[in-house]
Symmetry: C2
Subunit: 232 residues, 2 copies
């Protein structure tokens, strides 16, 4: 990593108070994080499949997705919201992960008001709602399917709008102000910034489509029931 | 209006290129805008009631709301997105309205990347979806109620998240950076900034609650139908 000043972040003149380079090897922090996430998802899906034995593969994946979102929103992004000012100088696992990710978006190192705002809303709103959606999907009760599909749609819209604003604010900052928050190396821009957020474009689209179809099917069934009773 | 420099906006050192004070009286631009909106809503609701004679009062109000949102998003906010750079010097009706509103939020005068980003998404996504929701509500067809309630929920979440970010970014900018984008007079902060955006907190909450209940009721009816067939 070329460090031509006190920190490796872009734009080069951005101020990152108290920055201290990560002490743990990159492979260690990434595999630690991957391990925590893998164990969590395995635990959630195993528990859900034990609780509702009839869960289909698609439902298991949905539960894994919303558990992942709930964990990242509440704990990883919650850590950022609570510690944003001290992360640059900290060496905890989450702080080192944030310092690594911020190579692709330095706003996480500068207490940027937009990032703090959207992350606070993510922690307070999308975190609990993601877990609630996972729980309703795991319970798999016919009478709760309305609440479940409503919540699923709500969280998916939140994710899509959030990621659109996340990419969009960067795009407009670059277009309007000539500011780039990412280091220029492809691994940071395409790997971290684009690649790590792309799932929150693709998966919510799929789940919104799927949940939307379920909602429309339910209303059609009700309409057909009413038409049937009328003898239409 | 105390103008101690070249423009009346806050913070006082913000740069507003080419600012020219409004030439039309405030009462004139406000009543013109109110007249356009009043005529549009009257037209939309009258047409919808003529098309679907059985529309209840609540549905008429819902149609009026989404027509209002569609108009504001596509045309008023669309005007901002297309002309943000020249609004400070323009004297068109919409430009004068934006210059007046910006007394409560100068980001509309400075091509602020966050405002451009969220307004562009509002124009492209929430404008068309608001009109689509109004059309589906006006058609009032039983088999389209699924799509209608899904769209209604989607747009309401978009509005709630949007207004939370709109207020939130201002709040964090003030808290983190000591920046205030509004003039200090209560009419601007409480009247324009808080008051004119508050409907996008209150109404989407009501409509999301209402639409959410309709979705849950439809799934319950389907579940009861299945239970009935099983003889439970």
């Amino acid at each position: 990593m070329a460090v031509d000043g006190s920190h490796p972040y872009f734009p080069r003149d951005v101020v990152v108070p108290g920055y201290a380079a990560n002490t743990a090897p990159l492979l260690f922090i990434l595999t630690s994080f991957g391990g925590i996430i893998g164990a969590l998802l395995f635990g959630c899906v195993t528990f859900a499949t034990w609780y509702s034995t009839a869960l289909k593969r698609g439902e298991q994946l949905t539960i894994a997705w919303f558990s992942l979102c709930g964990f990242l929103h509440l704990f990883f992004e919650g850590y950022f919201v609570l510690n944003h000012a001290t992360i640059p100088s900290s060496q905890s696992l989450f702080a080192q992960l944030w310092k690594e990710y911020a190579l692709s978006d330095s706003r996480y190192m500068t207490s940027d008001p937009f990032m703090l705002c959207i992350e606070t809303l993510t922690v307070l709103i999308w975190g609990p709602l993601s877990f609630a959606t996972a729980v309703l999907a795991a319970r798999n009760r016919p009478r709760e399917q309305g609440a479940r599909h409503l919540l699923q749609a709500v969280v998916c819209v939140g994710h899509l709008y959030g990621v659109a604003l996340y990419y969009g604010t960067c795009g407009f900052a670059e277009h309007m102000r000539g500011l780039s928050y990412s280091r220029p190396e492809p691994v940071y821009y395409w790997g971290y910034y684009v690649g790590m957020n792309a799932p929150w474009v693709v998966v919510p689209c799929v789940l919104l489509w799927q949940g939307g179809n379920a909602i429309q099917a339910a209303f059609r069934e009700v309409a057909e029931g009413v038409e049937g009773k009328k003898g239409l």
